[in-house]
Symmetry: C2
Subunit: 254 residues, 2 copies
């Protein structure tokens, strides 16, 4: 461990799910206040982090706030350098491109290293598209999995979709996934063609934003009235038939 | 579908993770304001919902606010009755005992029925112990699963723990679970005895509260300095060795 007797704290700071969302309205006052007083940030994307910081009540000019990047291109060997100011006693904020850091982004590697050095970790409350989508889906939140991105080659993607249905049949889990916005339509069509008609499928786009769209339908019903998805951040969710349940009994819609 | 031309909206309202947490500080102003103006709530537990509502800026006496329960004992046949006021045009709030509704509680059955009737669903931002634990764990949030409760009989529980490790080995997933507070120690010991020494194990208790505890260690290190867990709400998480990764490369702590 590095010199200083007691390290700073690592604050995990959620950010709004779109540039038009006002952090003062969509973050709890506690989160907003803590983010406003930090001077060192580790960000998935420095540019979007700067745009976020400009909307806070910073106690110094933004030029005096240090922002370093931890992206998918960051090597493991670079992590100790990112942690060093914290070990030297400075508090830091970890921010994702949008939503919660260390969820569906590369931030967990830094949190893991922080744990090894006994840095106090403070997760803060704020928006997560994955969680909001799960809540709104009605697909069941007693057991769920987030699988990230599906494979891109059409054959492999279709195979993955079928494997997810099989998994949901066996485990009863709701399964959530995301995709790069310009591939929304491709993944949606793969889900419609690969899943059984009785599966329920959710599309949740632009969560918390003015163009928010949340719709859950049986796959057969989606097929009967298909839609064209916008190229905006979207969470997809599915569950095999008969899986929504309360603890003591199963509820089968329709 | 019932009479009225346009249904009310179903708002999914997160609640603080403990009675001592102030909703004004831990909920975003948007969530606080919307919860404050609703007159019909569907709650996992009417008593805790009432305690929550008393901390809001209600526009009428709490006695005039209707609270109905949707708990693990609610039968599927009772759901249409809970939805009826919404179909008649009234807005409603769905609240869990603590945290986010329709996640690790029976609320999803009502959301599913609301989707069938084309009720607009609005998930709101707020605390989730499961999500905060995942962020703070450092175990990896690129792929994760929440499995709820483990079996209670010791043999079955140990077998389940071993199956979870196997699953994490195969899928690379971080696996999260919860337990009733008085069984924290039992599940913790089952995890310590059933998992390989190289697995990483997180204990996250009393999240967002003054006695918050968040610790991630290799199982071997936990065994070397075991702790006695308090009987407070706790999320457990584990991941098999070598699974924390960024998108492009794997990061292996130590």
């Amino acid at each position: 461990m590095t010199g200083s007797p007691s390290p700073g704290r690592l604050w995990l700071i959620p950010t709004p799910l779109g540039e038009t969302a006002d952090p003062r309205l969509c973050l709890p006052p506690d989160t907003f206040a803590i983010a406003s007083r930090l001077h060192y940030f580790i960000a998935e994307n420095a540019r979007s982090a700067r745009a976020f910081l400009k909307q806070l009540d910073l106690d110094r000019p933004i030029q005096q706030i240090e922002i370093r990047e931890l992206s998918e291109h960051t090597q493991a060997a670079e992590l100790p350098g990112l942690l060093a100011p914290i070990l030297a006693g400075q508090d830091a904020g970890l921010v994702s491109e949008a939503g919660c850091p260390a969820v569906a982004d590369p931030g967990a590697a830094l949190v893991a290293l922080a744990h090894q050095h006994r840095v106090p970790i403070h997760p803060l409350i704020g928006p997560s598209a994955i969680l909001l989508a799960l809540m709104a889906s009605g697909l069941g939140g007693q057991a769920f999995a987030f699988v990230g991105y599906l494979p891109q080659p059409p054959d492999a993607r279709l195979q993955a979709v079928r494997a997810l249905e099989q998994r949901s049949v066996c485990s009863g889990e709701t399964i959530l996934m995301i995709e790069t916005p310009y591939r929304n339509q491709a993944i949606f069509e793969a889900l419609l063609s690969g899943l059984s008609g009785d599966c329920r499928l959710m599309v949740a786009s632009s969560l918390t934003l003015p163009d928010q769209l949340i719709r859950t339908e049986r796959v057969a019903d989606w097929r009967a009235s298909p839609v064209q998805l916008a190229r905006v951040p979207t969470v997809f969710g599915m569950v095999a038939p008969g899986q929504t349940r309360t603890t003591k009994e199963r509820y089968r819609p329709r």
